[in-house]
């Protein structure tokens, strides 16, 4: 997708021009943002919890190898088979082979960001295996031949009427059709999805999940969800394959108490999520008898290799940062051209994918540095600092390019100007000449390129007749 995707500003312009999308986004993000703030406000020890979460994650990051081996040993003891995957391709082929070994041609899936990240569904389809998403919003996205636009509410860009149309047109093609008299009432839509999915749950031989946490000491996997559809996938099939990022490991079971207070409040604005499933390997006679865990490194190694980038690995994918991001609120997730949109997305995506495409180079700049995200992040990731660091990498890449960039020259010029006070005095004098020629102060309207990028829709103040410095030199009165 990244090779042909347009850079962010262009993609954003297209999304901005869609009033339906803007209305859906405004409604959804403002509701969830307000709920999160309410849930935070009622916790007297919120700041302590955040600090604890950050500290636990940092401990895990600094000794990830130790905890991963501990997790592998515990999982194996509990009857699960552990597989390691260096990257997306390896992970996909491991999972595909595991499904093929069961003889199944379809799988039911629990909502998982990692399987989106590695493109597992496409890999399975190429191998003749049909993956069925069972999270309601993921189902809407999959049936709509669409891509997710939010990590928690992947169909945040759709409203009820659109969902109804998708259900009517598509459900019948892949399973139980929606009733022909389906209304756009949320209860009706949910009932149609339930009936459609139930058939799949009861038939499925293989379930595929991600994992929110993996406890090293016990080998316990944890999936946090709202609908219970995940629970169905985790308990009904004979074979369960969990694809988990290596940064999901947590040292001890007790660490969960911190994250279970932070995650639901930060993501859906609930005190507690409706379904939390935990399992450690195989329990005979209860749930899947064939349990696999695929641990995926992927771009995480690139983040580990750079100490300053490591805090991004604390992320628990709660999505609070995107809900609070003014840029995300305006354009939604698709413009980011990545499964990870919003503040954490513009940090993770260039780290994982690199900075080779115009899109990936534009991502770190899809941010006003308003810092609202840093205040809500439950694991205290210094998102604005990490974003500035990604920008620095882009600047270094642009400076090294054979093709000269206007920006590189402009910034070098600004750097020169701001090195000495007298240079600024000179600039102030030049501006004041313009100011005096114009006479009255007041607004300057549309100007030609490149000033048009500012003045197309807003005025620019006219320069003053005298810089501050000049006023000071003349006796400051």
């Amino acid at each position: 997708m990244s090779a042909i995707a347009p850079p962010f500003p262009e993609a954003a312009r297209k999304q901005l021009a869609n009033p339906q999308l803007r209305a859906n986004l405004r409604r959804a993000t403002s509701t969830i943002k307000a709920k999160r703030a309410l849930r935070q406000a009622e916790m007297a020890d919120w700041e302590e919890l955040r600090a604890a979460a950050a500290a636990i994650k940092d401990r895990m990051i600094s000794q990830m190898d130790v905890y991963l081996e501990q997790a592998e040993a515990a999982l194996t003891r509990a009857g699960a088979q552990v597989h390691w995957a260096r990257d997306a391709d390896e992970a996909n082929s491991v999972v595909t082979a595991l499904v093929q070994a069961t003889g199944a041609t379809e799988v039911v899936k629990v909502k998982s960001m990692l399987t989106q990240e590695i493109g597992l569904n496409d890999a399975l389809r190429r191998a003749g295996i049909a993956p069925f998403e069972t999270d309601l919003a993921e189902l809407i996205v999959q049936l709509g031949h669409d891509t997710p636009s939010h990590i928690l509410v992947p169909a945040i860009h759709r409203n009820r009427a659109e969902v109804r149309e998708i259900f009517l047109a598509e459900m019948g093609l892949v399973g139980r059709p929606a009733p022909p008299d389906l209304s756009s009432d949320p209860n009706d839509l949910a009932a149609a999805a339930r009936a459609h999915l139930r058939e799949k749950f009861l038939r499925a031989k293989v379930g595929i999940s991600g994992g929110n946490f993996l406890i090293a000491e016990t080998g316990t996997l944890v999936v946090v969800e709202s609908e219970g559809n995940g629970r169905m996938c985790l308990t009904l099939p004979e074979t369960l394959i969990s694809v988990v990022g290596i940064e999901k490991v947590l040292p001890t079971f007790q660490d969960l108490e911190v994250f279970m207070q932070l995650l639901p409040r930060s993501s859906t604005g609930e005190r507690m999520n409706p379904y939390t499933s935990m399992w450690s390997g195989v329990t005979p006679g209860d749930g899947p008898s064939n349990v696999h865990v695929v641990l995926v490194a992927g771009g995480r190694l690139k983040a580990l290799a750079e100490p300053a980038a490591r805090p991004m690995l604390r992320c628990i994918r709660c999505s609070a940062c995107m809900n609070t991001c003014p840029v995300y609120q305006k354009v939604g997730g698709h413009a980011y051209g990545s499964v990870y949109p919003g503040p954490i997305g513009i940090v993770l995506t260039p780290q994982f994918r690199g900075l080779d495409t115009p899109l990936d180079r534009s991502l770190p700049f899809a941010c006003t540095l308003c810092a609202a995200c840093a205040d809500v992040c439950p694991v205290k990731i210094p998102l604005p600092d990490l974003i500035v660091r990604q920008r620095h990498k882009v600047a270094v890449a642009k400076t090294a390019d054979l093709r000269p960039h206007l920006e590189v020259l402009a910034m070098a010029g600004a750097g020169w100007l701001f090195r000495r006070g007298w240079r600024l005095a000179l600039a102030g004098w030049a501006l004041s000449v313009v100011g005096r020629l114009r006479g009255a102060r007041g607004a300057i309207g549309p100007l030609p390129w490149p000033m048009s990028r500012w003045t197309r829709a807003r005025d620019l103040p006219a320069p003053p007749r005298q810089s501050f410095r000049a006023w000071w030199r003349r006796g400051s009165r």
Binding site: V331, T368, L369, A372, R391, G421, A457, L460
Partner: protein, 253 residues
Amino acid sequence: MADPGQGMRVGLFATCVNDLMFPETARAATQLLRRLGCEVVFPPGQTCCGQMMTNTGYFKAALGAVKAYANAFEGCDVVVAPSGSCVASVRHQHAMLARGGGSAKLVDRVETAAAKTYDITEFLVDRLGVTDVGAFFPHRVTYHPSCHSARLARLGERPYQLLRAVRGLELLDLPDAEQCCGFGGTFSVKNPDVSVALAADKAANVVATGAEYVVAPDNACLMNIGGVLTRGRAAVKPIHLVEILAQTEEDHR
């Protein structure tokens, strides 16, 4: 009123935006500080906090401004700037830049400079201990807290305390006050469409208050909000917080 600033020698960091484009703000800061009894100095070697280069990723280009800052204010006990954003950059970014591009000595020097740097609202409320600065401004105003001033410099309640003590002033609540105005430095020209969409929301909220003035602790935000307001021929005028605080009853006579 007594002179709470008596005996204080204050280095004024005008900031490049105010020096070049909004000298009235830096002049107001000078007048206000003098009225409170401070001695104000303006070291001419100062330039800019370097934020525009830093936040666009050009760390090396920003280093000149960082050094100029540490040099210029070496002899001052306190440095005061009418911009929470520039103050936040001095505090949070200068040491990082110095570490990346200079010697340990430079890190030391910029950390010393950062530790004595205040936004003017912090200086007034925390150092001088005043919220009533004797100002008079008989108008309806609404306050935009500015992202960097609110969330990086953490000015908190200070600007509101100062505004509430201004005689004649009526402070109106701004809906969604803490939402970004969409300026974002080079964001405003790299992503002009999103920037303008956010500025338009902010301007609409400002107009809805019925205020005559929109006040902020940072002129960059005001330039953005004001640009949309004047293009839309709205009557609301942008004004920097210190320009209100500097005005007294005499100015209005």
